[in-house]
Every structure is written in structure tokens, then in C-alpha cells.
């Protein structure tokens, strides 16, 4: 039986991170569907999901063969690199140093690129549209797969973390089917900030475990790490806002 105190951070991190990634993939698939119809969009999406499933089936069993401390160390370091990168960017966006991620703008840019291709050559445009959808699903999907493995593998929580990611897919698909336009009202930077905090906290935790550091309070130490990264991110954003004014 899995304890909720252990599973909840993994499930919520997988859910929130996947929500961000699936919204990004959905925007591009929707642009393809709007311009070239649902057939290439659906085929590209299905092909992307098939490649992803193949990667998971191929690499999944290998995880069980890696010694747990090596797995924790490798995943912890990757999580630190990934999570701190997200937190850094989210802090800079919160400070107004770099612009916010704009789903409407991405939708418009993707639509413009497909329209330009349509002007250049009519043939194989369905193919190009399908490839665009495939790439979006594959790229964002790889990030989802990494996050699920990263937050789930160290404690045997792959299934709960995977369910969190699937729930995020379901939420985005249902919301997308209802509004039928880019999900621009999702507070993406707030989500990215939160996910960056959680992934960085997991990163320190797993890296430490992999190095043989016995964290006081065991899994509860994750909460302290998350609180410290939240404080650090907010402090960084506040300092960046001031610096941007001083150096402007």
C-alpha cells in the first residue's frame, strides 16, 4: 500500500508538469487541425503517441536493472537541471524580464507557418501538417515521460505518477473540446513556477539519496525543500524586478 504522504507530491508534480506540456502540444495540434483539418492532426498525434509508447516500452524495463542509488543520483541530477531551469525562467517571467508564454501567439505563429507552406507548395501539405503535430506531441510527450519517470521511479511510484500525467491529458482534452481554441487562460507561468519548485525539491532529494545522504524526516524533507525553493524563486523574482529597473 502506497502512503499518500509519499504519493501525493509525485502525483501532483506529474499532473501539474504534464498540464503545462499538454497545453503546449494541444495549441500546435489545434493550429494544424484548424488549418488542415482534423485528419492530419489526429494522424500526427497518434503517430507521436505511438513513438512515445515505443520509447517507454523499450526503455521502461531497463530502469529495473539499474541499481537504485545510481538511478536516484542520475534522475536527481537531471531533475535539478530541468527543474531549476524552469524555476529560473518562471522567476524571470514573473519579474517581467522575459515575456510570458503566450498560447495565442504560438497558435498564430504555427498557423502562419503552415499557411506559408501552403502558398509555397500545395502538394504534401497534409503530410507536413501531420509531421508538425507529430513533432509537437513527441517533444512535449518526451518531457512528460521524463517527469513521470523522474518523480516516480525512485520510490516505485511510476503508476501513480503516470496516472497524474494521464489525468492532465484528460483535463486538457476535455477543456480543449469545450472551448475549441488555444487554452490561453491557463496560468502557465504560475504553474511552471510551482512545478519548477517541486522538481527542484525532488532533484535535491533524489541527488542526496543517491549520494547516501540520510535526509532528516525522510520523505517529509521534500516539503521543506519545496518551501525553500519557493522562497528562493520568489526572492530571485523580486531581486530581478529591482535589478531590471536599476539597469534599464
Amino acid at each position: 500500500m502506497i502512503a499518500w504522504s509519499t504519493a501525493a507530491p509525485a502525483i501532483s508534480a506529474a499532473f501539474l508538469a504534464s498540464l503545462v506540456e499538454v497545453v503546449e502540444a494541444f495549441t500546435i495540434v489545434l493550429a494544424v487541425a484548424t488549418l488542415r483539418g482534423w485528419r492530419p492532426a489526429a494522424l500526427g498525434t497518434a503517430a507521436g503517441l505511438t513513438v512515445l509508447a515505443g520509447i517507454v516500452l523499450l526503455l521502461g524495463p531497463l530502469l529495473g536493472r539499474v541499481p537504485i542509488s545510481s538511478l536516484q543520483l542520475a534522475i536527481g541530477i537531471l531533475l535539478l537541471l530541468f527543474g531549476m531551469g524552469w524555476l529560473r525562467k518562471a522567476s524571470l517571467r514573473a519579474a517581467g524580464v522575459i515575456p510570458l508564454h503566450d498560447e495565442e501567439a504560438i497558435f498564430a505563429a504555427e498557423a502562419a507557418e503552415l499557411s506559408e507552406r501552403a502558398h509555397r507548395r500545395q502538394r504534401n501539405l497534409g503530410w507536413a501538417a501531420g509531421i508538425t503535430a507529430l513533432k509537437a506531441v513527441l517533444l512535449e510527450g518526451l518531457e512528460v515521460v521524463f517527469i513521470v519517470i523522474a518523480v516516480g521511479a525512485g520510490r516505485g511510484l511510476l503508476v501513480p505518477a503516470g496516472l497524474g500525467a494521464l489525468a492532465a491529458c484528460a483535463v486538457v482534452l476535455v477543456a480543449g473540446a469545450i472551448v475549441h481554441r488555444p487554452l490561453s487562460r491557463v496560468p502557465e507561468n504560475t504553474l511552471k513556477f510551482g512545478v519548477g519548485v517541486m522538481l527542484s525539491a525532488f532533484g535535491v532529494f533524489w541527488t542526496g539519496e543517491g549520494l547516501g545522504i540520510p535526509w532528516p524526516g525522510e520523505d517529509l524533507a521534500l516539503l521543506l525543500f519545496a518551501a525553500l525553493f519557493l522562497g528562493g524563486g520568489l526572492l530571485a523574482a523580486a531581486l530581478a524586478r529591482k535589478l531590471a529597473v536599476v539597469f534599464a
Binding site: 530541468f82 531549476m84 531551469g85
Partner: protein, 72 residues
């Protein structure tokens, strides 16, 4: 096909090394923490503290540096 594989590889590397300076500094902190735990004979929690607070300091420094460069 090759173009797409190259794009995928670039994206994958970018997931972890988008900000090279921060990534290298994080790897250095992990190496220092690991050395303290394995070779220095100190309490492992000292290595843990170096890892945790080192990462926090790196994060704040990286954001502030980007703000200075971005604003000037």
C-alpha cells in the same frame, strides 16, 4: 527524418542544458557535495546542506545575472 531526429536531440539536450552556466554550476555543486560525503569524512548532512543551499544560491544568482544582462 534525420532533420527531425536532430531537432529532437537538440530539444532533449535543451531540456537540461538550456542555461549552460547554471547547468555546469549545478553539476559542480553536486560534485562538491558528493566529495564531501565520500572523501572528506564529514557528516553526510554537511554534503546535503551544501547541495541544498548551493542550488538555492545558484538559482538566485542566475536569475539576478539574467536580469542585469537583460535590462542593460
Amino acid at each position: 527524418m534525420m532533420t527531425m531526429v536532430k531537432e529532437l536531440a537538440t530539444e532533449l539536450i535543451g531540456m537540461f542544458f538550456a542555461e549552460k552556466r547554471l547547468a555546469i554550476a549545478v553539476l559542480a555543486i553536486v560534485a562538491v557535495a558528493g566529495s564531501l560525503v565520500d572523501f572528506a569524512g564529514l557528516n553526510p548532512l554537511v554534503g546535503g546542506a551544501v547541495l541544498l543551499f548551493g542550488c538555492l544560491i545558484l538559482l538566485i544568482e542566475s536569475v539576478c545575472r539574467a536580469a542585469r544582462v537583460g535590462a542593460s
